[in-house]
Symmetry: C2
Subunit: 147 residues, 2 copies
C-alpha cells in the first residue's frame, strides 16, 4: 500500500462511507515485475510476454476469443490509494487532476490496457502490452475496439 505522504500540490478527499457495487476478481495477471517500482510506465506491444490466468469458473466465456488478435484487459490496481484528486507525478513535478492522468491512484483503481494476443492455452492467455505488477487481479477481458 502507498504510505500517506503527499507530494507538494497533492490533495486528498474523504472517501464515501460505503461502496456502491462489488467487483469479482476473475483471475490473476502474471508479469515479470515483482513490485510497482519495477513496472514500466506504460505497456508496449513489443514488451515481454505476460500471462492472464482466468479462474476455471469462467472457462466457457473464452469461446471464440481466438478470433480477436487484440484484447482490452481490465484489472484492479489493488495496491493503490483511492483518495487523491490532485497528483504531482514524480516524472514531471507538475500537479494535475486525477482524471487527467492514467495513474493507478484514482477513486476506482481500474486499469484498461490493449494487448496483443500471443497464444491461448486452456484458461491461460499469453499477451504483450501489459505494465502491471505480478499478481494483479483480473476483472474483465473484451475484444479491442480502439482501431
Amino acid at each position: 500500500m502507498d504510505d500517506d505522504s503527499l507530494r507538494p500540490g497533492e490533495v486528498s478527499v474523504a472517501l464515501p462511507d460505503r461502496t456502491d457495487a462489488g467487483v469479482y476478481f476473475i483471475g490473476v495477471i502474471r508479469t515479470p515485475w515483482a513490485t510497482r517500482g519495477d513496472c514500466p510506465k506504460r505497456g508496449r506491444p513489443e514488451g515481454p510476454v505476460c500471462t492472464v490466468e482466468l479462474d476455471e469458473r469462467w472457462r466457457d466465456a473464452l469461446l471464440n476469443l481466438e478470433t480477436h488478435p487484440r484484447l482490452q484487459i481490465l484489472y484492479w490496481m489493488h495496491q493503490s490509494r483511492r483518495d487523491l484528486v490532485r497528483q504531482t507525478p514524480r516524472s514531471s513535478g507538475r500537479t494535475i487532476g486525477t482524471f487527467a492522468l492514467r495513474s493507478p491512484v484514482r477513486p476506482n483503481p481500474i486499469a484498461s490496457s490493449v494487448v496483443e494476443v500471443v497464444g491461448i492455452e486452456g484458461t491461460t492467455i499469453r499477451v504483450r502490452g501489459l505494465d502491471c505488477v505480478d499478481g494483479t487481479p483480473l476483472i474483465d477481458i473484451k475484444p479491442d475496439r480502439s482501431v
Copy 2:
C-alpha cells in the same frame, strides 16, 4: 433487470459467494435513451451529446481535463446480469463466449467508451460517443490513449 430466460446456446454459471473489491459510483451519465432497448448498439463520435455529471466530492480531480479532446469513460452497467458465460446475441443468433463480446452482460459489468469532449462546465462534461441508458453510474474518467 434481465429476466432469467436464456436464449438457445446460452450458459450461466453460479456466481462466487462474495465480491472481492468495491466500486464507488462517482457520478451519473445522462443520455437520450430511457431504456436499454432504446440504446444504440455502439456509441458513435457523431452521435448525440450526452452529459457526464461528476459528484461534487471529486471536483478537484478535473484539473487539466480540458487539455484532452478525447476521454475514456468507464461506467457500471447496473441493469445487467453477471452470470452468463456464453451468449447468443439476437442480432446474429450465434453463440459466443462472453469475453469475445462487448455485451453489457459479463461478470463485472464495466463498460469502456472513448468519447469526444464537447465542453466542460463545472463538474459537467458534455461528450459525444456514448451508448448507455440514462442514469448509468459513472466510475472513471481517463485521458484516451487509444490513438
